[in-house]
């Protein structure tokens, strides 16, 4: 039953990532693209955790944690760049 749920979830998350990619390519302005990138990272974390459940290994949690940290840092850095024209000052 878990394998079936994982298969369904992989397809749903793949469709969600395609929708995010659409918004990333079409998005009319820069903050929308930053938001699409952030959502893409969250979906990628969900996919990594799902792969961890599917294969039954706990190796992937470090990858998910790194994804979470790097995704947050890139989003904040992008927004800071839009706001001030500089990342570190």
């Amino acid at each position: 039953m878990i394998v079936l749920a994982c298969t369904v979830a992989v397809f749903a998350i793949g469709a969600a990532m395609l929708l995010n990619l659409y918004r990333l390519l079409v998005g009319p302005d820069t903050p929308t693209r930053v938001l699409a990138l952030d959502t893409l990272v969250i979906n990628a974390i969900a996919l990594v955790v799902l792969i961890g459940i599917y294969y039954g290994t706990s190796i992937y949690f470090e990858a998910a944690l790194l994804f979470a940290m790097v995704g947050f840092l890139t989003t904040v850095a992008y927004c800071k760049y839009i706001l001030r024209g500089n990342v570190m000052e």
Binding site: L19, Y22, G56, A64, F72, T75
Partner: protein, 126 residues
């Protein structure tokens, strides 16, 4: 007992997939950025939360090991999601000419734009 646990894990995974998909659909379908912020910040956070609970339950019930990595990821994501939403909304308000004009006056020397932020105010205090 194992059947109930397996059913709970599968239901949580399906719930997580549904909420992640709904959040991304909202991001793709809604008309402007302030409405688009709702999808990723609420639905997607709920989805990833239930996915991490499903992972914790899986390793607790099926493998017999308690893993606390998921709690770490959940705490981090739940702390950073509002900060991300605030930063994106602020960047949208400042970079959009129309909504920047609609902001009320600050009553100080510097404007709402953080480009001339606290540095512009400093000579007035001396």
């Amino acid at each position: 007992m194992t059947g109930i646990g397996e059913f709970a894990i599968a239901a949580l995974i399906c719930l997580a997939a549904f909420f992640l998909f709904v959040g991304s659909l909202g991001l793709a379908k809604l008309p402007d950025l302030m409405s688009r912020l709702h999808g990723p910040t609420k639905a997607t956070t709920l989805g990833i939360g239930s996915m991490l609970i499903a992972s914790m339950l899986y390793f607790l019930l099926e493998r017999g090991t308690l893993s606390l990595h998921e709690l770490l990821i959940t705490t981090f994501l739940f702390l950073t999601a509002p900060v991300t939403a605030l930063m994106v909304a602020k960047a949208h308000i400042i970079s959009d000419k129309g909504s920047r004009k609609a902001l009320p006056p600050t009553g100080r020397k510097c404007s709402w734009a953080v480009i001339d932020g606290p540095q512009a105010e400093r000579p007035a205090q001396d």
